[in-house]
């Protein structure tokens, strides 16, 4: 075979093998590892699946944080001002996690409709709001006059 053609054949076959391997890996990995985001209203309406991990986002309801006295378990409610969902988390919460602040919790819903969170993300600076939370809260306003959202 002509050397240049042989070279091309090697290149093309390598490309085919590698890219099919990569596509296989990607589809396999994506299948289980993406989480869909749901605002509390959708969860309460029963639109969220219970058999897989989801992301829930909104504001932490004022006065809803309950910490255990003996271990690291914490429960709190997340709201989009239409509906609220309870979240249970065992572990250390982020520094900027607080009542009346935006939060995204990742985990699975149990039979009682409570989200058992494996991870809780809070915002990273005073002005930042996770885009999903901002979108979920758009057009809805806090029942009280406190400046929760611009």
């Amino acid at each position: 075979m002509h050397p240049v053609r042989k070279q091309r054949l090697i290149l093309v076959s390598l490309l085919v093998v590698l890219s099919s391997a990569a596509i296989g890996l990607v589809t396999f990995a994506l299948r289980d590892n993406i989480n869909l985001f749901y605002p509390p209203a959708d969860v309460v309406a029963g639109k969220a699946p219970t058999d897989r991990s989801i992301r829930l986002g909104g504001m932490v309801v004022e006065g809803s944080i309950e910490r255990s006295e003996t271990d690291l378990e914490t429960t709190f409610w997340v709201t989009d001002y239409e509906a609220s969902v309870a979240v249970r988390y065992s572990g250390i919460l982020p520094d900027l996690f607080a009542e009346g602040e935006g939060v995204v919790a990742e985990g699975t819903l149990n039979e009682a409709g409570m989200l058992v969170a494996s991870q809780v993300l809070a915002k990273h600076d005073e002005n930042y709001m996770p885009p999903e939370v901002a979108a979920a809260l758009e057009g809805k306003s806090a029942p009280t006059a406190e400046p929760v959202l611009p």
Binding site: A22, R67, D125
Partner: protein, 659 residues
């Protein structure tokens, strides 16, 4: 007055950058020597005025001029001076100014070190970089002016710098990272200039190679510092989160890794030319994409800060212009520069091709995972997030695939080699590494850990290739003694980088497999055992800092009844913002880190505490340092220094003819 001067200075820089983007380019087209000769002076002019603007902004920060909006938003009179200085780039506007400052620094460096290059080439390169500078200066002036004033409503004091950024790591992390990001504009400019001239030859590759290595080295160091900072500052003890902002810096790095290797082939053998050009274009485009992702705040990220969609749109348009323009130029010009050199299936060229394919595919899968949520959202298909398991599942096997080839690469010959020779070189030592890997798989435990064994095998294999290669260079062809002079800087740099890569892989696997973490409630007097270590909470106290008040917990760590460290993690409350910050306490060593972070207080005299044992976590950063410094070291190679002198001769000749 000072901020206004800064603003004017930035506008002057913008005007000069427009000159740089147009006049030398026109000159190169019309072969007008005078127009082309303006390039270096215009580049220096842009640098000077951007530097003046930067210094004036710094002065505003140091003098607590809260009438300047960014100072009021990101500084405070109580902030320690060193952090007032780093606060200059601890915000969107200032960091953009730093971006432009570093870009113009690279332009000046190109103007200075490329005096030996053909004038047409230099003027085109600088002009392309000038175009990039125009884009970013316009971005700065139109959407994020760092000198905007708050008059007459000047606040009495500032909002303070985000406490997360009040840290020594953050003083040097952004400048280093930007050196890398922006540095990739140099090979990009060289590639565009070469496409315009229709000349993609070995000398083009030799010119852009040292620049690429330096930029990529800085990018490695910047990413390494970011990972280290996240480890000790965020209080989670993680070192890589596959966060969109991390990916934004990692994708240009992966592309850059492919480019560094592909340039080697182009320089030595004259093949892969159009591919190399394409890589240079993609690497810089990914830098721009990274800037877009970070600066627009379109993605949910632990690193994302408050953002403004208008800014995102601006960078997106600029990105489309750069990528679209360069790909169009590539489509028009690349066919004419294809090479006719051939090489065998078993050769160094083929091995480097494997490297390039693996790195390109890795970039694509990381890009896919990063952009997937954006794409789904854009088509209203739901709000997704792609987590670390995806990235680990696709990325780790790809890197594992790369490593077997990595050891053979440096040992192999260009053009035509034989697998028998490779076997002869590597079989016996390879079996030795296999035996060690199986032994170390036990890692002091009764159960065999296959992943650690694999990591030791692959990392050992790579290290073996490096050692074998060095030994061959030192001894071959001489009866006795070692030929140290045969170890050229580029060889040492490459070996260092490869060993560093092996170290990173080993550290990553061991720390992932063998880490132990306990989150628990601890009261004064409580003790907890983690592996061989006993952590006892001895006392709680408070300590005031310059701009914060800290709750402290004093831990004594002992092993076999012997005290080895006293660790004092803190929980700080910053006065100005009221923000709470975890300050982890770490006892670091080469083989293991002990890590304590405080959560929140639970009842009386007790805290939620995170205790961690992290074996070999330092190898990650030491390895990355070796990669970065290895890449930087290659520029000391004599062939890059003598090249300036060599190509100076034809250039003066051409100038003489032209005049």
């Amino acid at each position: 007055m000072i901020p206004e001067l800064g603003h004017v200075s930035l506008i002057i820089a913008f005007v000069l950058a427009i000159g740089l983007a147009t006049v030398p380019m026109w000159g190169a087209w019309r072969r007008d020597i005078a127009a082309m000769n303006t390039a270096p002076s215009l580049a220096v002019g842009v640098t000077v005025f951007v530097a003046v603007a930067f210094v004036l902004l710094t002065i505003s920060f140091l003098r607590d001029d809260f009438s300047v909006a960014v100072v009021a938003a990101n500084s405070n009179s109580l902030l320690p001076p060193i952090f007032k200085f780093s606060a200059v780039w601890g915000n969107h506007e200032g960091s953009l100014l730093l971006w432009v400052l570093i870009l113009s620094g690279w332009m000046t460096a190109v103007a200075y070190f490329s005096r030996g290059l053909p004038l047409v080439m230099v003027s085109r390169v600088l002009s392309v970089m000038g175009f990039v500078a125009v884009g970013f200066l316009a971005f700065s002036l139109l959407t994020s002016n760092p000198f905007e004033r708050l008059l007459p409503n000047t606040p009495l004091d500032g909002n303070d710098l985000n406490p997360l950024l009040q840290d020594p790591g953050l003083i040097i992390h952004p400048p280093l990272l930007y050196m890398g990001y922006v540095g990739l504009s140099v090979p990009f400019a060289f590639a565009i200039a070469a496409l315009m001239g229709g000349r993609l030859d070995a000398s083009w590759a030799r010119w852009s190679r040292p620049w690429t290595n330096v930029a990529w080295g800085f990018l490695s160091l910047g990413i390494m510092l970011g990972s280290w900072w996240a480890y000790y500052e965020l209080g989670w003890g993680g070192w890589w989160f596959w966060d969109p902002v991390e990916n934004a810096s990692f994708m240009p790095w992966l592309m850059g890794a492919a480019l560094v290797h592909s340039l080697a082939v182009t320089e030595k053998r004259g093949v892969f030319r159009s591919w190399t050009v394409l890589l240079a274009i993609f690497a810089f485009s990914l830098s721009l994409l990274g800037t877009f992702l970070v600066r627009s705040g379109v993605l949910t990220s632990v690193h994302a800060f408050a953002a403004d969609p208008e800014r995102g749109l601006f960078i997106l348009i600029f990105l489309a212009l750069v990528v679209g323009g360069s790909l169009l130029l590539y489509a028009l010009k690349a066919p004419s520069v294809a090479s006719r050199v051939s090489y065998g299936a078993v050769s160094r060229e083929s091995l480097l091709m494997v490297n390039n394919l693996v790195f390109t595919v890795s970039t694509v899968v990381v890009l896919l995972g990063t952009l997937f949520p954006l794409i789904m959202d854009a088509f209203s298909l739901g709000k997704y997030s792609v987590g670390p398991p995806y990235f680990n599942a696709v990325f780790v096997p790809l890197m594992a695939l790369l490593m077997p080839f990595m050891a053979v690469g440096p040992l192999s010959r260009w053009r035509e080699d034989s697998t028998r020779r490779w076997l002869h070189e590597l079989l016996v030592p390879g079996l030795g590494v296999l035996a060690v890997a199986i032994l170390l798989g036990f890692f002091g435990k009764a159960t065999f850990n296959i992943w650690i064994a694999l990591a030791v095998l692959l990392a050992g294999w790579v290290a073996l290739g490096v050692i074998k290669d060095a030994w061959r260079r030192l001894t071959s062809g001489v009866a006795s003694g070692l030929q140290w002079r045969r170890l050229s800087p580029s060889f040492i740099g490459m070996s260092l980088a490869h060993l560093g890569f092996a170290g990173v892989v080993l550290g990553a696997v061991v720390v992932t497999q063998e880490s132990e973490e306990h989150d628990l409630r601890m009261a004064v007097g409580d003790a907890e055992v983690l592996g061989a270590y006993r952590f006892e909470l001895q006392s709680l106290g408070q300590q005031a800092g310059p701009n914060y008040l800290a709750d402290q917990a004093v831990f004594e760590v002992s092993r076999d009844g012997e005290s080895i460290a006293v660790l004092v993690p803190e929980k700080r409350r910053y006065f100005a913002s009221g923000q709470i910050m975890t300050e982890a306490a770490i006892d670091a060593s080469l083989w293991r880190d002990l890590y304590i972070a405080l959560g929140e207080p639970i009842g009386e005299n007790a805290w939620a505490v995170r205790l961690q044992y992290k074996p070999m976590v330092r190898w990650l950063w030491l390895g990355s340092l070796m990669i970065g410094f290895g890449a930087l070291f290659t520029v000391l190679d004599r062939r890059y220094r003598s090249q300036a002198a060599r190509s100076a001769a034809p250039q003066t000749g051409a100038a003489a003819v032209a005049s």
